[in-house]
């Protein structure tokens, strides 16, 4: 399966958020990095059709996100920065169950899948707990469980550890590292890309570097140094 962006630009509220992106993602682990406002989140949202391109097209496994949105979203799961924005149902088990409504109608297999997902993410003891009363780390694990229970082929994570402490950051990273699925990870934490196949660097809506993690992160650091100098007026 491949994800292809062909001449993609996105304009939101009259502002060009992404421009002229042509890129094909075939690797198992792809990182995306950039300063605030660089277009990272919009890029991530393009991949499962949450944002549609103003120009160009995005195809996942030859499916166009504009015309085959539902099929694309079955293949590409999405995890938000803020788990509160992702959790819909009142309790932990009910939120995982919601994801399965579109794919598994039979009660017994659905219940088995929910139990397996909760056990996999260490949430089995919290099944009946109100989701609002979980810690931020537990909420992000629930968000992951709710997305992965449908077994998407690709997982897109938009800064999934930004709101977490070090313990939960490490736990989420371990979970992501062990995933059999392909992963596209947007992050500010540069060490999150260790072991990745490829890292894209975005700046002001353009792809300014696209390389293995080492050179891509070095390019991003150079970019950041330049931006800091500009801000400081040096």
């Amino acid at each position: 399966m491949s994800i292809e962006l062909d001449g993609v630009s996105v304009t939101i509220g009259g502002r060009r958020v992404l421009q002229g992106l042509t890129v094909r993602l075939d690797e198992r682990r792809v990182g995306v990095v950039g300063a605030n406002g660089s277009g990272k989140s919009t890029f991530a949202r393009l991949l499962n059709g949450l944002v549609l391109p103003s120009e160009g097209r995005v195809r996942v496994d030859a499916l166009d996100t504009r015309t085959d949105g539902a099929a694309v979203r079955r293949r590409v799961g999405f995890v938000f920065t803020n788990p509160d924005a992702q959790i819909v149902m009142p309790t932990v088990a009910e939120d995982v169950a919601l994801s399965l409504r579109a794919t598994e109608r039979r009660p017994a297999p659905r219940a088995a899948a929910i139990t397996a997902a909760l056990e996999r993410f260490g949430l089995a003891d919290l099944a009946d707990r109100p989701a609002a009363r979980l810690s931020s780390g537990q909420k992000q694990l629930l968000a992951l469980a709710s997305v992965l229970v449908t077994e998407p082929d690709v997982l897109v994570c938009d800064e999934p550890t930004t709101m977490l402490d070090l313990v939960h950051t490490r736990r989420i990273r371990d979970v992501l590292a062990a995933l059999p699925q392909r992963l596209v990870l947007v992050s500010h934490a540069l060490d999150a890309f260790d072991g990745f196949d490829r890292v894209l660097v975005l700046h002001e809506g353009r792809l300014v570097a696209d390389d293995a993690p080492g050179p891509a992160v070095a390019a991003y650091r150079t970019l950041v140094d330049r931006l800091v100098e500009t801000v400081d007026g040096r």
């Binding site: 949450l50 919601l98 579109a102």
Partner: protein, 200 residues
């Protein structure tokens, strides 16, 4: 035991085991009677019935209070208006009917897992397929409407906490505007979350 609104309280009572469809029909009947004939006899009867339901379900008074707490200001306003118009009895009956309707709805949501409720509503809405309406979407909308009560309560609590943290008095303008803005933002986030999960 949980005392959150819209959250199921696990149990194996007769009320928990009752079919969700029967509970929803009973709720509709109770609310209809309260709206159409809010007499002292009807209100007292429904009060006894609802109290019996809570006892039978093994739900604590804390759970019951949590359901009606968000109504506090509205009830106060309702009774005040009726007093000003010299209709105290009518005001008290209206307030009582409202409290009972919310308590009855709370009894259903506290004893019925959302997936079971969604399945029931989906089945009931099946005939709508013939007019091009997706029953699954109908069920989801109704479940989210029930959930919205708890969400609005949480958003209001956040705004109250923000006032308290800054030592500011709670005024209608500084309360209603941020709660409305947060509710609209939540609606956007919810739509995006459902779309991301292939349910939008």
């Amino acid at each position: 035991m949980s005392a959150a609104i819209g959250v199921v309280v696990p149990g194996n009572s007769l009320v928990h085991r009752a079919p969700p469809g029967a509970k929803l029909l009973a709720l509709a009947a109770v609310c209809s009677v309260l709206v159409l004939r809010p007499t002292p006899t009807v209100v007292a009867s429904v009060a006894a019935l609802t109290a019996g339901g809570y006892v039978l379900a093994g739900l604590s008074a804390r759970v019951a209070v949590a359901q009606v707490r968000p109504l506090g200001w509205f009830l106060a306003a309702l009774v005040t208006v009726q007093v000003l118009f010299r209709e105290l009895e009518r005001g008290l009956l209206a307030a009582g009917a409202l409290v009972l309707a919310v308590l009855a709805a709370g009894l259903v949501t506290a004893t019925t897992p959302v997936p079971a409720m969604l399945d029931t509503i989906t089945r009931a809405a099946m005939p709508l397929r013939h007019v091009g309406i997706d029953p699954e979407q109908v069920a989801l909308v109704l479940a989210l409407a029930i959930r919205a009560v708890a969400v609005l309560h949480e958003l209001a609590a956040e705004v109250r906490d923000a006032h308290t943290a800054r030592g500011l008095p709670l005024r209608p303008r500084t309360f209603v505007v941020p709660v409305t803005v947060r509710a609209l933002r939540h609606a956007d986030e919810l739509a995006e979350a459902l779309a991301a999960r292939g349910l939008g």
